[in-house]
Amino acid sequence: MSHAVAFTAKDFESDQEVRWCPGCGDYSILAQMKKVLPTLGLAPEQIVFVSGIGCSSRFPYYLNTYGMHSIHGRAPAVATGLKLTRPELSVWVITGDGDGLSIGGNHLIHALRRNLDINILLFNNQIYGLTKGQYSPTSPTGQITRSTPYGSLDAPLNPLTLALGAEASFVARSVDVWPKHLADTLSRAAAHRGTSFVEIYQNCNIYNDGAFSWATDKKIKDEHVLELEHGKPMVFGAARDRGIVLDGLTPRVVSLGEGIGEDAVLVHDAHRDDPTLAFALSRMRHPAFPEPFGVLRAVERPVYEARAGAQMASARAAAHAPSLDKLFASGDTWEVA
C-alpha cells in the first residue's frame, strides 16, 4: 500500500524514554528498524509490534505504532489471533532467546508451521538479561552464569535449525551492529509473504559482553563470517580465498586456488524447496565453520490467514445468505400454539 505522505524515521519514534542499558545491542536494532519502517509504504497505524517479556520485549514501547507488550513467551500466539482477524495489518513479533525458545518455544514452532504473514525477530544474546544474568537456551554448554557457577549443563538450541525443523518459510540471521546488513535483512523479512524468522545476534554488554565479538570485531570478522547471497558462491575471508563445498551432505571449508576455483564452490540457493541445504548451513557454527549470515531460506508456502479467509468465503458462498433464523431452525423444530 503506498501513501501520499512519505514517512520518516521520526514518524515511527514514540515519546517514551528508551530504558535499555547504555551500550546494549538493542539500540542499534531499534535504529535500523526505524530506518526500515518508513520504506515499507505503510502508515504507523498499519503496523503492530507484539512482544513477550525480557529486555528485547520492551521494543514496542519505543515505536510510534500500535503495540502490545504481552506476557512471557506468548507473543507469537497474540500475533496469530491479531493477524488472523486483521490480515491487512503488518504484524511484527519481537522476542529473545529466553522468551522465544524457552518459555515460549511451543508458540514459536507452531507460529512457524502455520506460516501467517508475520515477522518474528529473535534477539539472541545467549543470556537472560532482564532477570540479571542466568544462562539461556542458547548459552553454550559450560557457560558460567549466576545460575550456573559451575558451568551450564544444557546443550544449547540452534534457533535456525529449530525454525527450519518447524517448517519456517523464511529463515535469516543478522547482527545488531551490522547496520546495512541488518536493515537489508529486516526489509527482506518484511517483503516475504509468510512467517519470517530472523535471528539477530545481539550483544548484552552487562551479562554476556563480547559473545559475538568474532562476528563484530572488524579485524577478525571476515575469517569467521559467511555472508550468504542467493545465487552467489559461498566464498569468505578477507582475501575471499576460502569457500564452502559439499562433501556428501556435509559442508566443508576449502582454500581457493591451486585447482579449486569459485566455480567449484557451493552456490547459495535460498529458494530451494528442499530444506536440506538450509539445514546444513544452519549447522555451520563458529568456531568450526564460518557462520552463515543473511537469508538461509525463503520459499513460498500457503499463508494461514489467506487460507482461513478462503475457507470462510467458500462457506459463505455455500450458505446462501446465512441468518440466525436459519441457524436456530436447523434440525427438528416444533410449534407450541
Binding site: 500500535y66 491479531l82 507452531h110 462457506a315 441457524l327
Partner: protein
C-alpha cells in the same frame, strides 16, 4: 395376537395409561449407542410436545474394555406433560444392555419400575466382567421390579437379517431395538427417528435398512410380549407459545456467541484447545464459518487465550473456553486481559477436579478460581448459566458487560449443563437488539491519544489498530492512569488497582436487581447458582406444594452480585446454598454479607436430585419448628 403397525398409535391394541412424567435411562456399553438412543428419545418426546430434560452420563474412556463396569455409558431422559427442571430423580424404566449396565444403574430405578434387560448379554463372560457371582436374573434380587427379559441381541440379529450386514454389524443395531421397545411402552412416534436414520445413514442403505428393521422389531416386541402389562401416554406439556427445538448447553453457548457477534457487528474469534467437556463448543462453532466465525485450535490453552487477546486488541469479539485445568493454564493471560482492559469472554465448562479429576462428570468447584485465580488484584465479572437454554442468554449478557466495561468476563457452565438438552424457544429476530460497541475514530494527531482515559463507568476506549492518530502501546506493566504510559509510581499503582476494582463494581449499574421465586421474606431461602438451578427450583416447588415457607433465588451474576442481594438474604431466617463443591458460594456470601448461610454440598460427579435438596429443606424446616 395382533401385531400393530409399528409407529402407529397402539391405543386400539391396549389402552394407554396417562402419565404426567416419565424418566427413562438407557444403560449399556460405551459402544452400544446409548447416547444416540437417549438423544433420539429426547427429540421424539420434545417433538410430541413434552418438556424434556436429559442427563448424559458417560465414562472418560472412549472405549473402556467391552462389558466392564468402567465402560458403562448411560443416558437419562425425563419427559413430561408439564414443565420440568431436572432429568428426573428416579428412573421409571431402565434399559440394561448388559450385566455391567444393570449393576451400575439399578440403584437409579424406582421400586416397581420397569427393568428391560438383554438376556442374551447375561452369559458367563458378561456376568464375570460385571463381577456378578451368579446371574441376578436367576435369583430374587430383581423381584421388586417389573422385569422384562428381552432377547434383544438374538431378536435384533434375526430382524435385520435381510439387510445382509453380517453378525457384528447386525448386533450394532441393538440400540434401535431397545429404542423401538421403549417407544412402544410410551407411545412415541417412530417418525422422527426414521427421519434421523435416513439423514445419518442414508448413504449406507444396508445400515439404514437394518436400523429401521431393528427399530420396528423393538416396537413389535413391545406389542406382542406379555411381560409388559401396561403401556403409557404422556400428553404434551403446556409450554409458552412459540417455535421450539432441542438444544444442549454447549450448543446454546455456541449459538449465543454467534448471536452476540451479530448483535454487536463483530467478527467472532474463538481460540480453543480441545478439552472435555468444552470441546463441543469448538466443534459447533467450527461449522459456522459462514457467519464469519474464526475458530482457532491453538497449540495449548495459553495460546488459546493469548490468541484471543490478540484478536480482541484488533477489535474482534474474542472468546476462549476450557474446563478447570485449562482455565488454570490461562490464568496469567487472563490477568493480562484485566491489565489491558480489553473485552474477552472466558467460558469454563466445569468438571470434577482438582487436576484431571473427573473429566466427564459435573462439579461446580471452579467458582473461586473464576473469582480469584489470578495474580494480584484482578477482579472481573463472573456469570453462571442455570441450564442449557440459559447458556444462550448468559454469553450474550457477558459480552454486553465485556464491551461496556472493557473487561474480560468469565462465564461458568458445567458438564451437566453442557451435555444436557432441553426444549428451547427459538427467539424472534426482534428479540435480538443490537449490542452497542464504540471505537474512537481517527485523530489528526494534534492532541495526544489517551488509551487509559475513562468514561462514567470507568471503561477505557477501545481504539483499534489501523485508526490514524491513535497508535498506542498496551502491556502487562502497570500504567499511568489516563496516558497508559508504563508507571512504577506507588500512588499510581494503588490508584489503578482501585480504578480497576471500581470499574468491575460498576457492573451492578448494568445488571438487574436479584429476583426471588416465592415469598419475599420468611423462614428459608434456597440460593442456588449455575446448573444446580433445576434441582433447587424443583425442590422448592415441591416444598411449597407441601406447605413449607420457602423461597428460591437463582444467582446469575456472581461478581459483582446484584445490589439488592445483601438486603434480600437478610429477609429470611435461614439461607440454604446447594452447590456441587464444598461451599464456595457460601464462603463468598458469608464473607460479603455476614449471612450465616447453610451449605448443601456434594462432590460425587453427579448433579443434585431434587429429592436431595428437598430432604434438606424439610430438615431445616423441622429444626425451625423445634426451635
Amino acid at each position: 395376537m395382533a401385531i400393530a403397525t409399528a409407529g402407529a398409535p397402539a391405543a386400539q391394541v391396549r389402552t394407554r395409561e396417562r402419565l404426567e412424567s416419565v424418566t427413562v435411562r438407557f444403560a449399556g456399553d460405551s459402544g452400544d449407542g446409548m447416547q444416540l438412543a437417549g438423544t433420539q428419545l429426547t427429540n421424539t418426546s420434545a417433538l410430541s410436545g413434552n418438556d424434556v430434560a436429559t442427563f448424559p452420563d458417560f465414562p472418560a474412556e472412549i472405549r473402556a474394555p467391552r462389558g466392564t463396569l468402567a465402560g458403562v455409558s448411560g443416558f437419562q431422559v425425563h419427559f413430561a406433560a408439564r414443565d420440568i427442571l431436572t432429568p428426573g430423580d428416579q428412573v421409571d424404566t431402565l434399559v440394561a444392555m448388559n450385566p455391567a449396565a444393570l449393576k451400575q444403574s439399578l440403584k437409579e430405578l424406582k421400586p416397581g419400575g420397569t427393568l428391560i434387560v438383554d438376556v442374551d448379554a447375561f452369559d458367563a463372560k458378561g456376568l464375570k466382567l460385571a463381577r456378578y457371582e451368579h446371574s441376578p436374573l436367576d435369583d430374587d434380587s430383581l423381584d421388586g421390579y417389573q422385569l422384562v427379559r428381552a432377547p434383544i441381541t438374538a431378536l435384533t440379529r434375526k430382524a435385520v437379517e435381510d439387510a445382509g450386514l453380517g453378525k457384528k454389524l447386525s448386533e450394532r443395531c441393538r440400540n434401535f431395538f431397545a429404542m423401538g421397545l421403549v417407544y412402544w411402552i410410551y407411545g412415541r412416534s417412530l417418525e422422527p427417528t426414521l427421519r434421523f436414520i435416513e439423514r445419518r445413514f442414508g448413504k449406507d442403505p444396508a445400515v439404514a435398512q437394518a436400523d429401521t428393521l431393528a427399530l420396528n422389531a423393538g416396537w413389535n416386541f413391545g406389542e406382542t410380549t406379555e411381560a409388559l402389562e401396561r403401556c403409557y401416554h404422556v400428553p404434551a406439556a403446556r409450554l409458552a407459545p412459540g417455535r421450539y427445538r432441542n438444544l444442549t448447553g454447549n450448543q446454546a453457548l455456541a449459538y449465543g456467541l454467534i448471536t452476540a457477534a451479530q448483535r454487536s457487528g463483530k467478527t467472532l474469534f474463538y481460540g480453543s484447545y480441545p478439552i472435555t467437556p468444552a470441546s463441543d463448543i469448538l466443534h459447533e462453532l467450527s461449522r459456522h464459518k459462514a457467519f464469519g466465525v474464526h475458530t482457532f485450535q491453538a497449540e495449548d490453552e495459553i495460546a488459546a487465550i493469548t490468541s484471543a487477546i490478540g484478536a480482541a486488541y484488533g477489535g474482534a469479539m474474542a472468546v476462549t473456553a476450557s474446563a478447570g485445568p485449562g482455565i488454570a493454564l490461562k490464568g496469567e493471560a487472563l490477568g493480562l486481559a484485566v491489565m489491558l482492559e480489553l473485552p474477552l469472554l472466558v467460558l469454563n465448562v466445569q468438571r470434577g477436579g482438582p487436576s484431571t479429576g473427573l473429566p466427564t462428570k459435573v462439579e461446580q468447584s471452579d467458582l473461586l478460581q473464576a473469582m480469584f485465580g489470578r495474580s494480584g488484584e484482578a477482579p472481573l465479572p463472573v456469570l453462571a448459566a442455570s441450564g442449557p437454554g440459559d447458556c444462550f442468554e448468559v454469553v450474550q449478557e457477558a459480552w454486553r458487560l465485556a464491551v461496556r466495561l472493557m473487561t474480560p468476563v468469565v462465564v461458568l457452565s458445567d458438564a451437566y449443563v453442557a451435555n444436557g438438552a432441553e426444549p428451547w424457544r427459538i427467539p424472534e429476530p426482534g428479540d435480538l437488539a443490537p449490542i452497542a460497541v464504540d471505537h474512537p475514530g481517527a485523530s489528526d494527531g494534534t492532541q495526544p491519544f489517551h488509551p487509559y482515559a475513562r468514561d462514567a463507568l470507568l471503561a477505557r476506549p477501545w481504539a483499534l489498530p489501523g485508526t490514524p492518530g491513535l497508535a498506542h502501546r498496551v502491556g502487562g506493566l502497570e500504567k499511568q492512569d489516563i496516558t497508559g504510559d508504563v508507571s512504577y509510581d506507588p500512588d499510581n499503582h494503588e490508584h489503578m488497582v482501585g480504578v480497576r476494582a471500581r470499574k468491575i463494581a460498576n457492573a451492578v449499574r448494568l445488571i438487574p436487581e436479584q429476583s426471588v421465586d416465592g415469598p419475599a421474606d420468611g423462614a428459608l431461602l434456597v440460593l442456588s447458582w449455575g446448573g444446580s438451578y433445576g434441582p433447587a427450583a424443583e425442590a422448592v416447588r415441591r416444598a411449597r406444594g407441601a406447605g413449607l415457607d420457602v423461597a428460591h433465588c437463582q444467582l446469575r451474576y456472581l461478581n459483582p452480585m446484584p445490589a439488592n442481594l445483601g438486603s434480600l438474604l437478610k429477609r429470611y431466617r435461614k439461607v440454604l446454598i446447594p452447590e456441587l463443591n464444598t461451599g464456595q458460594l457460601r464462603m463468598l456470601v458469608r464473607a460479603r454479607y455476614l449471612v450465616d448461610a447453610i451449605g448443601l454440598n456434594k462432590v460425587q460427579g453427579r448433579p443434585f436430585s431434587a429429592d436431595e435438596v428437598l430432604a434438606r429443606i424439610f430438615e431445616l424446616s423441622d429444626e425451625g419448628t423445634d426451635a
